[in-house]
Symmetry: C2
Subunit: 117 residues, 2 copies
DNA sequence: GCGACATATCATTCATCGCTGATACGAGAA
DNA sequence: TTCTCGTATCAGCGATGAATGATATGTCGC
């Protein structure tokens, strides 16, 4: 239906951001910004467990954020769209301006940042 | 410590994206792209409950994504940084390319999209 | 001061997501 | 074929976050 398009778009947008809202996935995507890597290389680059990486890659792949390319018994992954990289970069830029605020926000995961008070 | 900067950045980045990874907050931010609004207006624009909006605005404000400006007994909110709007727009652009994939991804919240299989 | 309105806070409930460990699958080498 | 390596899948646990409803704070008009 047309009148619901707005809400649907918001949901899709939220889903997209949720795909990026995890340090593990960000580490994977960031690693892939340097070029295609096979799973083992991603595991090495991110220090994550193999099944963890595989799980995330599956999701990212289904969402189109990365593309899989089987080659022999390896599977190479690359970013699925250049704008994924842009999005990551823009987020980094934004962090330069509001990083202090983000760090201070105690509402969401603060594994690496101290909760305020 | 310097050697941990990378992981910390990833965490902050994740936190930033997590701030955007919710349809309610996206609705609020999208509404604010049109200019400053007071809480009641945001409630009207988003169809969310007042306490829900207030909670989200608090978080967004602490994170620097929006700015609060008390005026009389109203409180007007605006986007805290132009790049927030850019980020939203870039996400929308990206959705144009991979929306089908995002919709198909059954791993994350699918309130408005059907799970695949 | 008193009542009405705008906003903020709090505790609870409910759902969701990420990680782990074990295991299954599949392709290549010997 | 058989063994080994790379990758994928699955179930379960632990933790986090979003929405609600009631309530508190604070500001304006009368």
């Amino acid at each position: 239906m047309l009148i619901d398009t707005k809400a649907q778009t918001l949901d899709l947008q939220a889903k997209l951001f949720r795909g990026l809202a995890d340090p593990s996935r960000l580490a994977i995507l960031t690693a892939l910004r340097g070029g295609p890597l096979h799973v083992g290389a991603v595991v090495g680059a991110t220090q994550l467990s193999q099944s963890n990486v595989s799980n995330h890659l599956r999701c990212l792949s289904e969402c189109g954020l990365v593309q899989a390319e089987p080659r022999g018994r390896f599977v190479y992954y690359r970013l699925g769209d250049a704008r994924v990289g842009e999005l990551l970069q823009l987020a980094l830029d934004l962090l330069g301006g509001v990083a202090n605020g983000i760090a201070a926000c105690d509402r969401y995961g603060d594994e690496a940042t101290k909760p305020c008070t």
